[in-house]
Structures are given as C-alpha cells and as structure tokens.
Amino acid sequence: MRAVGPSFGERAAKALADASLQRAIGDLKGGFVAARARAVADFPAFEEMREAGRAIKDHTLANLDFYLERYAAEVERHGGHVHWASDAEEACRIVREICARAGARTVTKGKSMVSEEIGLNAALEADGIEVVETDAGEYIVQLAGEAPSHIVMPTVHKTADEIADLFLDRHRAHGFEARARDAAELIGQVRAVLRGKYFAADVGITGANFLVAENGAGVIVTNEGNGDLTSGLARVHIVTAGIEKVVPTLDDASLLLRLLTRSALGMEATSYTTYSIGPRRDGDIEGPEEYHVVLVDNGRSDMLAGPYRPMLRCIRCAACLNHCPVYLAVGGHAYDAVYPGPMGAVLMPMIGGHEKAEELPHACTLNGRCEQVCPVKIPLPDLLRRLRHDQWEAGFIRGTARWGIAAWSWLATRPALYHRLARVVAAAGGYLGRSRGRFRYLPLASGWTEGRDMPAPQGTTFQAAWAKRRERR
C-alpha cells in the first residue's frame, strides 16, 4: 500500500537544496504572481467575473449529460467523430487505433495535460510512432526525458543554461554545432526544428481548454502558435479533452477565457485563441481531412456525485500553483504527479485513487491562498481536508500521525485529566527552559527542533494561574 521510492518529504528536501531549481522557481513570484496582480487590478469587475465563471461551470456540471450530448452532436454534424473513453487505457487505445488507421509515422502534439494524464506519448511510442511535442516548454522537457513541473510553464524548473547544454548535446543532428548564447537563439532552434515536423506529421494531437456545446468547437489558447500549426497541417487532427471541459456557448467560453488568461499569465488574451470545428469543408484548400475528439472520463464522472464536484470547475490556469507557498518552495517535481500543486493534490487522488497520491493532501498548510486566487472559486482547502478525512476513514493514515491525533483528541475530551497533565508539562518545561527561554532539542519533536528552537512554557498553565488568581480574590 505504501508508495515505493522517495517520499514527498524526501523529494522536497532535495528540491530545497537544489540551488539551480530554487533560482528558477524564485522567478515565478515576480513573474506570474505580479502579472496576475496587475491584471486583476486593471479590471475592477474581476470579482464579479469570478462569480460568473463559477456559475457557468456549476450550471454546466449540473447538466453535464445534456451539454456533452449536444457538443458531440455538433461535432458530428460538422463531419467530426467523437469517441468516449472511460479510462486512460481506453483513451490510449482509441488514439492508437486512429493513428494506425491513418498509417501514422509522425505525430505532432500541442499542449494537452489530459494526454499526459493518460500516458499517451509512451503508448504511441510503443507502436513505433515518433511523437513530437510542439509547445516549446513541452518540447524541451521531452528532449530532456523529464516530466513537466508546472501545468502552464513546463520548464519552470530549468534555467536557460541547462537548456543551452541540452540543445548543444541533442541538436547537433539538426545542424546546430555551437552553444546557443541566449533564450532567443534557443527558441530559434526550436522553431527551425519543428517547422519541418509540422509538415511531416500525419496526425496532430491537441488538447482543449474548452469544448463548446453550441457549435462543437474545441478551443485552445497558446502564445506560440504551435497549437494551430499542429492542428492545421496534419491530415488527421485529434483533440483529447476531459469531459468537464464542455461549456454551453461561445459567450461562456469568452468569459472563462478572460479569467483564464489573467489568472494564468496576467494577460487580457493570449496571442492565439483557436476554435476548431471539424475537418476541412468542401472547397477548403487546406486543413485536416479527419477530425476526432476523444472525451476522457478517468474518474471525473465519479466526482460529479459527491462533495468533490467543485474540483471539476478547474480551468487549468495554475494560479493556485503560482501562489502556493509549498509549491513555490519545492517546485512541481517534488509532487511526482501529472498535476502538481493544490489542484493536483485534489485531482490526483480522484483520478488515481488514494494509493497513488497519499501524501499530497498533507503537503499543505491549509493557508487558503489558492482558494483566493482560483478564478472559479474552487474551495481547495476544504477539499484537501475532506481528502484527509476520507484517508482516515479508509485507514490510510497510520502510525504516529494517527495515534498522535487520537491521543490528543482523547485527552481533549477529558479536561480535568488534561489540565493536571498540562500543569506538569508546563512546570517541567518552564523549569528546564527558564535560563535560556527555549529548547534547542526536544525528544519526540525532532521535526520541530531540526531547524527551530522551541520556546519554553512559562512554568504554569493559564488555567492553573487563573484558578489561583480567583482563589486570592
């Protein structure tokens, strides 16, 4: 039942000691956090818009069957095909079959978090297909053989130097002999390498920020333009998207897009917002011949029934990651999860079960900043606490964590006994600590005293001192 490999705590310790990583994620605060704050300040009705966004999402989720069916009907009316995958395995199988029928040798991919969730790249590569990520950040982590560490900026954990070293090693085959001097040169190399891939691709796979029921549109936002080149130039376009991505109308999508770009990047709009509605039409001189949408469930329909439904509002902006002091301290890889940070800590147990993500709900101080910045008002701390309750009931919380809390709770309902014990502890602690006012070391509390002193009690408890004061009156 216990996860193998290093724990979150061990990975976190490693991340904290990694100076290069710390430098890289230190920039997130000045970057994303400051940008979002500016964008929010520039738009006085932002709070109203958050409420409207929440309402659209809740309304859609409450009628999800209707909107999914309408979306699918519209896609099919425009000549596309909709496939429904209950889980990751089924989703991969469907995509592999489409690629096999298309005789695909090369597949380009725009950013799709759900494709990472289902492990799509590995499945396609096992079939001998070359999979090329086209988002610059995803391309870089793919080249490095790493997982992305942030759902919007996959390379947030890497410095420019590290990327230059990587390209020096891996781009020789493309004719780049010298080490690139700066970010512009590095991106120039990516542009050159990928231009040929776009034209060579048999299949282009993208995700979807939103699926629009009114006309069957899939919406993607990029700043790079890679999504359009991925979806527009290959013969077959596949969209992979979670079932919760559907929204009723283009107007609803526009409102949510205003929240998304401000919350994620502090922008009013990304450079490219693309709506794709099916394959090429009669008379079109370009565009994919086939258009497929793979709707992925993978635990989402189960979330509809219970208290976790609000998590399905998530529009993957990553504002919660950017504002979480734990994420900002250790970065995304410490979570060892497709979705890190606060939203990941809720989503991972939902889609993978408690066993896969036991620690994540505990790697949190419940400070609540995430909920404050969530554009659709997901009550993340409440959901994380609820996951802890679920874990407790299912017996996942064991050992010191369990009996420590059980012992405290037992004492807490026995005030007379507790107060006698507390007086002893306060007296002993006050006596032992009186000369220095603190303890450098405490048995049973090494977690505290590794890095901090423990202030000493004052020699008595408040209750005891209060009783004494009242006696004297």
Binding site: A24, S86, A136, T155, L250
Partner: protein, 213 residues
C-alpha cells in the same frame, strides 16, 4: 459502449437524465446567452482596437481603400531579401491589382513563407484582436507560417468584444467554419528561463492594414 457507460455514470451522479422541459430551457439559453460582467470599453472601437493591438506589438496602419493595399505591401517588402521566393495572398484578395511580375501563391502556406496577405473577418476592440475565419478564400495556414503576416481589416468589421463576433457569426446564416483564429499579439514564449522571446513558431511580425473608416 464507452459513450453509454459514461453518460450512465453522469446521469447516476446527477440524479437522473435531463428532463424535456429542462432541456428546452438549456437550449433556449444557448440561443440567447445571458449577459455577463465583461470589460466595458468606451469610445470609438477603431481607436480602441488600434491602441490595444499596438500595445500587443501588432503594427497597425490605416489605408483609405484596397487601392492602397499593393503599395503598402510593397513597402513592407522593400529592403528585404530576394523577392524570387514570392509571397502568398489569400484568394479573397486576388483582385486588388497585384503586379503581374510578382510570383504570388494563392494557395495554402508553404514550409518557407516570407510574407502573406490575408483578410480578416473581424477585429475586436477589447483586446486588439483580429479574427480570421477559415474558408476556401481565406486559408488559415497563411496566418501562421509566414515571417511577416499582413492582415487586411475593414474598419466597419471592428467590433467591441468577442461576444459581438459570435453574435455576428450566429446570425450570418452561414455554417460555422472549420477554424476561427483570434490573434491578439505576436507569437512568443517565455519557456526558456522566463525570458520573453518573439517569435516562437508563428510570424515574426504582424502588420494590420485598417481599411477605410
């Protein structure tokens, strides 16, 4: 069947399938989306469009009519490399008087594309965006592949916000196109060390010619 299993789980979770009268309400909502709190701009939409687009590093120039299109493109080509590769022009702009000796591609974008000229469906003042709609006469690959992307936008097609564009498309009587591209800035990425680099995969420059107005 995957579809039935998923819909069944959803209906179970929601306490039942959507009833007929609810479905009718939902369909009505889709035809007439309710108003929402959105940024309210003030003043002339053309002026606002130009201000926002320029702030997003889209160059904007005004021309009186399509008669000035060829000279405008000419000056964007001057000082550039060898013209022999030729430019691409959307078929919608075939008949504006291009010089006979220009080797123009009226087709989809090519792997090396120096400059393309396309026609926008609309502009959005709120975000300084151009809206490109795919059609036989307006292939969308010309929006992404060239180094320089020249966009013809009629002033009367500049609307206040995206919702106005959707309304126009809904009420146009035409079928939905294969693709709508809303372009609100230059191609860029910050994936290397958080430093903003332009362009990423898209055009190096976008130049909008606002016609008339």
């Amino acid at each position: 069947m995957g579809r039935e299993a998923i819909l069944r789980r959803i209906r179970l979770a929601l306490g039942g399938a959507t009833g007929a009268d609810v479905a009718a309400q939902l369909s009505a909502r889709m035809l007439h989306p309710p108003p929402a709190p959105v940024p309210q701009g003030e003043g002339d939409v053309v002026a606002r469009f130009i201000a926002r687009a320029s702030a997003n590093l889209i160059a904007v120039e005004r021309i009186a009519s399509l008669a000035q299109l060829v000279p405008a493109v000419q000056s964007l080509l001057e000082g550039g490399e060898d013209d022999a590769r030729g430019i691409s022009v959307a078929p919608a702009l075939r008949h504006v008087g291009w010089p006979a000796d220009w080797a123009i591609n009226y087709g989809p974008g090519r792997i090396v594309e120096r400059l393309s000229v396309t026609e926008a469906f609309a502009g959005i003042a709120e975000t300084g965006s151009i809206v490109m709609r795919s059609a036989p006469e307006t292939p969308t690959s010309l929006n992404f592949l060239p180094d320089v992307h020249v966009v013809v936008l009629h002033a009367g097609d500049i609307l206040a916000r995206p919702e106005d564009v959707w309304h126009r498309m809904r009420t146009s009587g035409e079928a939905w196109p294969r693709t709508v591209n809303v372009i609100s800035g230059a191609s860029r990425t910050a994936d290397v060390g958080g430093v903003i680099v332009r362009p990423a995969h898209g055009p190096k420059r976008v130049h909008v010619l606002v016609v008339g107005g």
